[in-house]
Symmetry: C2
Subunit: 301 residues, 2 copies
C-alpha cells in the first residue's frame, strides 16, 4: 500500500573522517523515500529550487518514487553543511540555508489522496498538521520531529502528536519532550501525548519500540566496520520501518517487530557510503540477507 | 565448575537521583561473586580491613561464596564515594580511599587451586598477572580493566591481555586501548593483543560479543523503569556471563550467547536497588523469568 511522505529534499555538504562530499542529494524525505521504496510505493511532497535538476530527479525515478508532489520554485533548494569529525553520532551543523524551504506550503496532488500510509518527516509541526488534515482517510500516520520544534514550537508540536499513530524520534528527543531523564518513563509520557507507538532510535545501538500493538521490543543495530557517513540514518530507519509495515497485509505485533529490524537494516546501509549512494542501488536480496544477519546477531539458539 | 575471582571488596557511599546510601558493601569482586553465585561455586580472593565484619561476611555466606581467600588486615577497607546525579551512565567519583587495598598481595588458598575458571576483576594488571601465573591449570580466564590502567599502566596491561581468554570492558575502554574510535576496528585491535573473546558492555544498550568461538553477537539490555543505582552493573554482568559459562558442560558458541543474555539479566537486577541489595536475594526462577523476558524483547516470531 502506498506511502505519502512530506519533508525536506535538500543538498548536503558533509565531512566525516572518511572524507568530504559537496552538495550530495539529501533531506529527510529523500532518505525516507529511497529506503521505503524497496518495500512499497512511495509518493513525495517537498519543495526544491532550480538547482534540483534531471540528475536529482533520476535518483527518485530509478526507484519508481512518485515525484509529482515535488514543487519546483525559483531560487535554491534547502542546503545543509555539517561535519562529524569528532563524533560520528552527532553532526556539527555549519550552515543551514532554508532557501525555498522557508516558504514551503505542502500541496497534495490528487493522485496521492488514496495513500493509506502517511509519513510526516521532520518539518514545522504546523505543516505536518496541515498535511495530516488534508489526508483524513489514511490508515496509519507516522512522524518525526527534532529538538528545534520541541524547544521552541511546543504548542504546535503537541497538536500534531495527538494525530500520530507512530512517532519515531531518538533518545534525547524523547527525554526532551517528556522532561524526564529515564527513557521508560519518558516514553510513557510521550505516548500519553498521542502516539500509540513510539520508536526510540539509539543510533549505533539500535532502537526500542514502546507501544500498544507490540510489547516493548528492541532491535539491535549492526556494529559497522566503517561508518562512512551517518547522515540520513534515522530517516532511512524510518523508511525501512514504515515501508515494511505498509507492505504487510496486516500491521500485527509480529509485523511491527520485523519492521524494527528492517528499519535497523536500512539505517545501517545508509551509513556505508556518503549521502544516499548506498540506498540508491540496493537489491531486496541484499536487504533480506542483512535482515537475516541481524536476526542471527541477536537470536539465541 | 568453580570460579575463583580476585578483585576489590569495598564500602561504597552512593548518591543517585533515587537517594543516598552510606557505606554499602561493594567492590567488583563482591558484585561479581553475588551474580555468579546463582550459577556455580564462587571463591573470592580479596583484602578487607577491620570494618568488614560479620554482617558483610554473612552476605557472602548466604550465597555460599567461599571467603577463605579474603584476607583481613589492620586498617580500613577500600572506600569509594560517588554520585550519578547528572548522568546515570557515568559515576562522578568524590573519594577513593584505597586503605588496605593499597598493600593488596593476593594469596591463593590451596583449596581454590582446583578452580577451572578464573576471573580477574579490575585491579592492578601486575596483580592480575601474578594470580593468573599462580593458577596455571585453569581452563578459562576472563578479566576486566579500567581507564586508569589503560592510560598509565599500559605495559603491564599488555602483558596480562596476552593471558586472557575473555576480556570484558566497555565501549570507551575498548576504543582507548585500541586508539581507534570505530568500535568494530577497535575490538579487532584489542583482540589482536590477546583475548580470544571480547565482550564490550554498552551500559543501558546491552553488550556485544566479538570473538572466535561465537560470531559477533549482541545482547540487549532491558529498558528499566527505574534505575536506582547503576553501581556494580558491569561487574554483575561479568558475574552472570562467566557464572553461566562456568555452569555449562561445554563453552560452545550457543553457551556464549546465552551467557551474554544472563550477563545482561544480572546487570539489570543490580540497578534495581542500592548496592548489592537486589543481588543478595534473587531466585533462579526470577533470573530465568527475566532471561525469557529478554529473549522475548528482542526475538522475531
Amino acid at each position: 500500500m502506498a506511502i505519502t511522505v512530506v519533508g525536506s529534499v535538500a543538498f548536503d555538504t558533509i565531512e566525516t573522517p572518511a572524507g568530504r562530499r559537496e552538495r550530495c542529494l539529501g533531506g529527510a524525505a529523500t532518505y525516507f523515500s529511497l529506503a521505503a521504496s524497496y518495500f512499497t510505493d512511495v509518493r513525495v511532497i517537498a519543495v526544491v529550487g532550480e538547482d534540483f535538476g534531471r540528475r536529482q530527479e533520476a535518483v527518485f525515478q530509478e526507484r519508481k518514487i512518485d515525484t509529482r508532489g515535488i514543487e519546483h520554485m525559483a531560487g535554491k533548494s534547502f542546503f545543509w553543511e555539517g561535519s562529524y569529525l569528532e563524533n560520528l553520532n552527532e553532526a556539527k551543523t555549519h550552515i543551514t540555508d532554508l532557501n525555498v524551504f522557508a516558504a514551503f506550503e505542502p500541496k497534495i496532488p490528487d493522485v496521492y489522496r488514496d495513500s493509506e500510509f502517511l509519513f510526516l518527516a521532520n518539518i514545522d509541526p504546523i505543516l505536518q498538521r496541515r498535511v495530516r488534515e488534508a489526508m483524513p482517510d489514511v490508515k496509519l500516520v507516522a512522524g518525526d520531529t527534532m529538538n528545534y520544534w520541541i524547544k521552541d514550537h511546543r504548542p504546535a508540536l503537541l497538536e500534531i502528536l495527538k494525530e500520530l499513530d507512530i512517532l519515531l524520534i531518538n533518545d534525547t528527543e524523547t527525554k526532551m519532550i517528556a522532561g524526564n531523564n529515564n527513557l521508560v518513563q519518558a516514553a510513557r509520557a510521550v505516548m500519553a501525548l498521542g502516539p500509540k507507538e513510539l520508536v526510540v532510535k539509539h543510533g549505533e545501538y539500535g532502537a526500542t519500540l514502546f507501544g500498544e500493538e507490540a510489547k516493548t521490543f528492541r532491535a539491535p543495530a549492526i556494529p559497522l566496520e566503517e561508518v562512512v557517513d551517518p547522515t540520513g540514518a534515522g530517516d532511512s530507519f524510518a523508511g525501512g520501518f514504515f515501508g515494511y509495515l505498509a507492505s504487510q497485509p496486516e500491521q500485527s505485533p509480529a509485523a511491527y517487530r520485523r519492521a524494527m529490524f528492517y528499519g535497523s537494516v536500512m539505517g545501517s546501509f545508509a551509513c556505508e557510503r556518503f549521502g544516499t549512494e548506498r540506498l540508491q542501488k540496493l537489491t531486496r536480496e541484499e536487504i533480506d540477507e542483512r535482515f537475516n544477519l541481524f536476526r542471527e546477531l541477536t537470536h539465541l539458539a
